[in-house]
């Protein structure tokens, strides 16, 4: 009987140990429930409660610390939040520089929370999301909870404008692949540095996917005129994108046109051959035009033409 009790106790503790304290408190509750039903010595109870306390204290940050993680960016100028000072000042400067470089190029500013090795947040993703929505209201942000020395355990989110935190396999891929590449490094800071660099590079594709380029329209005119402007802007963009090809095409057409006109200018005309009888004993020609006078300015051309026509008749 005693042996069977200890087996049950072992199973209960096994359940407790395997349970995730952040997401699943049921393990501890069930263990406690079973243990109360068992007839166990006092020393055992003391040990069990001590174990539970140790687990809670080690892995779960205090409320104040949790607030610092979730809402700390409102008071910090940079995108790096390290309330426990896990990184030294030099390391913080390097990461801050990387973040600022990323923010200059990207539409998704980077916010990194640094967690110590083995440290866990007491909230699950579903609980963190509304808090992040509140913290990053109508703003784009790449927010992550990075565990030092354990990049694969990174917990990353993407806040997108009014949509808030979005769930997307591409976002997961962004974090997973960056973590995978960073995890090959041995030093914990190297891992963090490479993780940030990789994330910054990969976020470009995510940006292209989620944030189609928007054309700037500064006009304050009516809707109709702004539509017309955007229409012209579209055409202008297309033209500017293909300016080289267009220039070449126009140049080729102009060269072709010039060659066509040039060849026409030098085209030779040959009078069609025809048999003509000789007239008035002349060998070369006997074809005379009418005469025009230019002695008197008052004698207009039309009058002269009429006169010639009458003479012909």
């Amino acid at each position: 009987m005693n042996i069977s009790k200890y087996i049950i106790v072992y199973l209960c503790f096994f359940n407790t140990l395997t349970a995730d304290p952040n997401t699943d408190n049921q393990g501890l509750n069930i263990t406690e429930k079973i243990l109360t039903e068992l007839d166990l010595p006092n020393w055992f109870w003391g040990g069990a409660h001590n174990f539970a306390n140790i687990v809670n204290n080690l892995e779960q940050p205090e409320d104040e610390l949790l607030n610092q993680y979730l809402y700390g960016f409102s008071t910090i100028a940079t995108g790096l939040n390290d309330p426990l000072n896990v990184l030294n000042k030099e390391e913080q400067q390097i990461i801050t520089k990387l973040i600022s470089e990323h923010d200059m190029k990207s539409a998704f500013p980077l916010y990194i929370n640094i967690l110590n090795t083995g440290q866990q947040l007491p909230l699950i993703r579903a609980q963190i999301k509304p808090r992040l929505n509140h913290a990053f209201k109508n703003r784009n942000a790449l927010v992550m909870f990075y565990h030092m020395n354990d990049p694969r355990n990174v917990d990353g989110y993407l806040c997108l404008d009014e949509k808030g935190v979005i769930e997307n396999w591409e976002v997961d891929e962004l974090y997973i692949k960056s973590a995978r590449d960073a995890s090959i490094h041995i030093n914990s800071f190297d891992q963090l540095e490479h993780f940030v660099r990789d994330l910054s590079k990969r976020s470009y594709w995510l940006e292209q996917k989620l944030m189609p380029p928007v054309l700037a329209d500064n006009s304050n005119n009516s809707d109709l005129s702004s539509k017309t402007h955007s229409h012209w802007n579209k055409w202008f963009t297309i033209l500017s994108d293909h300016i080289i090809a267009l220039s070449l095409a126009i140049f080729t057409i102009l060269i072709g046109l010039w060659y066509f006109l040039w060849s026409r200018k030098w085209r030779k005309f040959v009078i069609p051959d025809q048999k003509t009888p000789l007239r008035f004993g002349a060998h070369h020609g006997a074809n005379i035009s009418n005469v025009i006078e230019f002695s008197d300015p008052r004698a207009s051309l039309s009058e002269q033409y009429k006169k010639i026509k009458n003479n012909d008749l």
Partner: protein
């Protein structure tokens, strides 16, 4: 009117035409002569077997530009760079613009090749293009305008004749 009878009437006139310019009236300066030559070359260059000449004369009362043109066409000696081309160049492809400086009259004389190709109205239009300049006494400009019009009309006439031949 035959060529023999005309020859008696115009025999006193010099019939040597140098480089297409025949200035018997003595109207042209060296510069004007150069301009006239250029205009003639421009007019000729696009045609095969066509030569152009401009004759500026002061005719007597019993002489006419048409008669003189006819006579010069068949009796003239045409030089190019001081070489007589009268026998080598076919005179049937020649066009002579005759300007009577005394009576202020102008006419065109065509060789046999142009028979039936150019209409009377077209002839009149060619000559009338230089009328205003000639009225102002600007002989070179008037002749240049006439030669330019002649060139365009000849082109049209040739294309028209080719088309006509193809159809028939």
């Amino acid at each position: 009117m035959t060529l023999e009878r005309l020859s008696q009437n115009y025999q006193n006139i010099n019939s040597k035409v140098h480089d297409g310019v025949h200035d018997e009236a003595g109207l042209l300066s060296i510069e004007m002569r150069r301009k006239m030559k250029n205009a003639i070359q421009l007019c000729e260059q696009q045609f095969v077997g066509v030569s152009i000449a401009v004759s500026l004369v002061a005719l007597k009362d019993n002489q006419t530009p048409t008669g003189y043109g006819f006579w010069l066409h068949n009796n003239g000696q045409f030089f190019r760079n001081h070489i007589d081309h009268s026998d080598t160049v076919d005179g049937r492809g020649r066009v002579i613009l005759v300007l009577d400086a005394k009576a202020k009259r102008i006419a065109l004389s065509y060789g046999y090749y142009f028979d039936g190709h150019i209409k009377d109205k077209e002839n009149f239009d060619i000559l009338s293009t230089g009328h205003a300049s000639l009225l102002e006494g600007n002989i070179v400009l008037g002749c240049e305008q006439i030669l330019k019009a002649l060139k365009e009309t000849l082109k049209k006439a040739i294309l028209r004749s080719i088309k006509k031949q193809r159809i028939s």
